[in-house]
């Protein structure tokens, strides 16, 4: 299943195997490729890889959570399954659709492509952390005003990418907003409304 091009592609699992669940916390490398022609050997070798657990302290939305995470668990999985923060969605689980976007140390990133064990000491912001009590973030208000969500499944990711744009540049141009949201797919086709919402939030907060 999906392992047909061994050695040709970089996958989360092959990367995990190359580091053996040990040397964690290193930067992403491109040498985690497996050179084997033996599919059966490959399959049996990858079963159970990354099952070891490590305790991490995750700082999410200003709160610190101490959790035991499997080395193979992504940040998206831990947010959703362990912390119950299901506002972060998983659309593709391979860093293409952007539904899982969260803000890590000020940058919007795909949480499906970050291992949870790498997150020690990072400052993570999810959709649940935007509102201050009952007071919505201006960007969330703008998304309501401009009808940003349709089915709503990409909305959390769109908002987090939009928030990252505004955190970096409070007065972005339309082109900058489009570029900032370009990693977030929307299959209902609400792109123009999402861009309008980010621009409206920018003008509101200034």
């Amino acid at each position: 299943m999906g392992e047909e091009k061994k050695g040709a592609r970089f996958s989360r699992r092959s990367f995990l195997k190359s580091i053996g669940g040990g040397a964690l916390g290193t930067a992403v490398v491109s040498t985690g490729l497996i050179k084997t022609d033996d599919a059966a050997a490959y399959v049996s070798e990858t079963v159970g890889v990354g099952r070891g657990k490590t305790a991490v302290a995750l700082k999410v939305n200003g709160k610190t959570y101490r959790v035991q995470v499997e080395h193979r668990q992504t940040l998206a999985e831990v947010l959703r399954d362990e912390l119950g923060l299901t506002g972060t969605k998983i659309g593709c689980d391979r860093g293409e659709c952007g539904a899982c976007t969260v803000i890590i140390d000020g940058r919007n990133m795909y949480s499906c492509s970050q291992l949870a064990v790498w997150m020690q000491g990072k400052d993570i912001l999810t959709i649940e952390g935007l509102a201050k009590g009952d007071k919505l973030d201006p960007l969330q208000e703008a998304f309501i005003e401009h009808d940003g969500p349709q089915c709503g499944f990409c909305t959390s990711g769109q908002i987090m990418s939009g928030k990252a744009v505004l955190m970096k540049n409070p007065k972005p141009t339309e082109a900058q907003v489009r570029r900032g949201l370009s990693g977030n797919l929307c299959r209902c086709g609400n792109y123009n409304r999402e861009v309008a919402a980010v621009l409206a939030a920018a003008s509101k907060t200034s």
Binding site: R80, D81, K89
Partner: protein
């Protein structure tokens, strides 16, 4: 149409979407967000070969993996999936397997990684059977047979023959024509690719089955499940939470609903079965591809005298829905004959996807009429207006008010652009978001009127995701602004780009 000056308290006022707050705060709960106590996670193993008999399936290694709670396959879970196959019997696990992606087994485990690990430990011995992937090849007499009836998809009742429709006398119509044109248009399989991956959660309580399904058809799913599991309706409950996109292909119970239920029964625990994105592409149906051959007779003034459509549609390994092509519905055609042959191939199943039979053939027929207008030296918009039907099949009126005002606005705007008075100086885009099929442009289409007065209906779903059908449009779509203006300067430019 004149704008009304009357002020209403609600009509004409902006109203926030009723669930917008939940959706922008992450509180909206989708099926995949649900966690039931003691819930297991399931994954599906799919065929890696296009056509094969499963000689043996060995799950012993997978069963020994700690955390694995249940494994089902055709040997221990032979549940029919009635809405999954209309012309020949389909089960949730089939033997032989008939396409790459046909489900072979499903595993429920204490977490999704263990379920994925277990899939790798299942050993399957395939006896390969010759396969056929192309619809035209599949119709040849020596092609490998995918169903007992052969590859032309025929069964009982409404599916006992290829789709045929005719009226008038086409031969007479071609005799009356000044010119006759023939051409072939193809469209490719398109996957819905909703943002939400498919997911189903099943739970049994004292013989009562509850399925949390991401479905557009809660009632359909419930009746399907009750029928195929042999349960009274009162014992089946289907709940749909927030849904991450549907686009027309979630109207029945799906095989993963059944798998979740069977796994939950086997493990005696609630089960969440989630597709991976890859599962979604290879294991779930998309829009049927087509090859449409048109023969069109016209008068020199553009009036259609006769149309013949001879087409094949590739339904994949099983027949779930019609496989029809209906894009000619929007035109007055005095003499008409259509034969559409739905065909089985060893490819992923094709079935309903928003306005099922329309975008493919609106693309084909509307494009062809634009080409014909070009050949005749006519304005494509005038040609369209000359031939467009006022009523659907001569009965139900299309919605002429919005349609005409949209057309006249587009026409005047494009005239302005041509004279250089329009500030935008760009092609005008009008979308007709109208109820299918009661309007001239099916849902999911965009209508563009160019400064050249070329009218283009664009099957957006084909256009956005199908490499072949959209080749021409994509090429222009991606062309540079300078090139676009060069296109605009062409008087009768039949296939022109749409700018967002």
């Amino acid at each position: 149409m004149a704008e009304s000056s009357k002020e209403f308290s609600i009509v004409g006022k902006k109203t926030p979407r009723i669930d917008a707050y939940e959706r922008v705060t992450g509180q909206a709960q989708y099926t995949g967000d649900l966690q039931l106590p003691g819930m297991l996670y399931a994954r599906v193993l799919r065929s890696s070969v296009p056509h094969a008999k499963i000689a043996s399936i060995d799950t012993s290694k997978a069963e020994k993996l700690p955390g694995v709670k249940a494994i089902i396959h055709h040997g221990n879970a032979q549940v029919p999936w009635s809405s999954g196959g209309l012309t020949h019997r389909r089960y949730i696990f089939n033997n032989p397997v008939r396409y790459v992606g046909d489900p072979v087994a499903a595993v429920a485990a204490t977490d999704r990684h263990i379920a994925e690990d277990a899939l790798k430990l299942i050993e399957i011995n395939y006896e390969k059977i010759p396969h056929v992937l192309d619809a035209n090849e599949a119709l040849k007499p020596d092609a490998p047979k995918i169903t007992p009836n052969g590859n032309l998809s025929v069964g009982k009742g409404p599916f006992s023959a290829p789709i045929e429709e005719s009226w008038g006398d086409v031969e007479q119509g071609f005799k009356e024509a000044d010119k006759i044109f023939e051409d072939t248009f193809i469209t490719k399989h398109v996957n819905n690719a909703q943002m939400e991956r498919r997911v189903s959660i099943a739970r049994w309580d004292a013989g009562k089955l509850t399925v949390y399904a991401s479905t557009q058809g809660v009632s359909n799913a419930r009746t399907d499940i009750a029928k195929d599991f042999g349960l009274p309706l009162s014992k089946v409950r289907v709940i749909c939470k927030y849904m991450g996109g549907g686009f027309g292909n979630k109207n029945q119970a799906q095989d993963y609903d059944y798998m979740a239920a069977m796994l939950a029964k086997a493990a005696d625990q609630p089960v969440k079965l989630e597709f991976t994105r890859e599962d979604d592409f290879i294991g779930m149906h998309g829009r049927w591809s087509s090859e449409q051959h048109y023969k069109v007779g016209v008068k020199n003034d553009g009036t259609i005298t006769a149309v013949m459509l001879d087409a094949v549609t590739n339904m994949g390994a099983y027949r779930k829905q019609s496989g029809n092509l209906s894009g000619t519905d929007f035109y007055n055609i005095p003499n008409f004959k259509k034969v559409v042959k739905p065909v089985h191939t060893n490819t992923v199943v094709a079935a309903n996807y928003r306005a099922p039979a329309y975008p493919q053939s609106v693309f084909g027929f509307a494009s062809f009429l634009d080409q014909i207008a070009f050949e005749l030296g006519l304005n494509p918009l005038d040609m369209f207006l000359r031939n467009r039907a006022q009523k659907s099949k001569g009965k139900l009126a299309y919605t002429p008010i919005t349609w005409n005002s949209a057309l006249s606005k587009a026409r005047s705007a494009s005239a302005g652009a041509k004279n250089g008075t329009s500030p935008a100086q760009r092609p005008v885009r009008k979308s007709m978001a109208s109820e299918w099929p009661s309007a001239a442009i099916p849902f999911g289409q965009a209508l563009a009127l160019q400064p050249s007065e070329s009218i283009q209906t664009v099957p957006r779903t084909c256009w956005s995701a199908s490499p072949t059908s959209a080749r021409v449009q994509n090429r222009r779509w991606r062309s540079s602004p300078r090139k676009r203006s060069a296109f605009r300067s062409t008087k009768f430019n039949s296939l022109t780009a749409i700018r967002t």
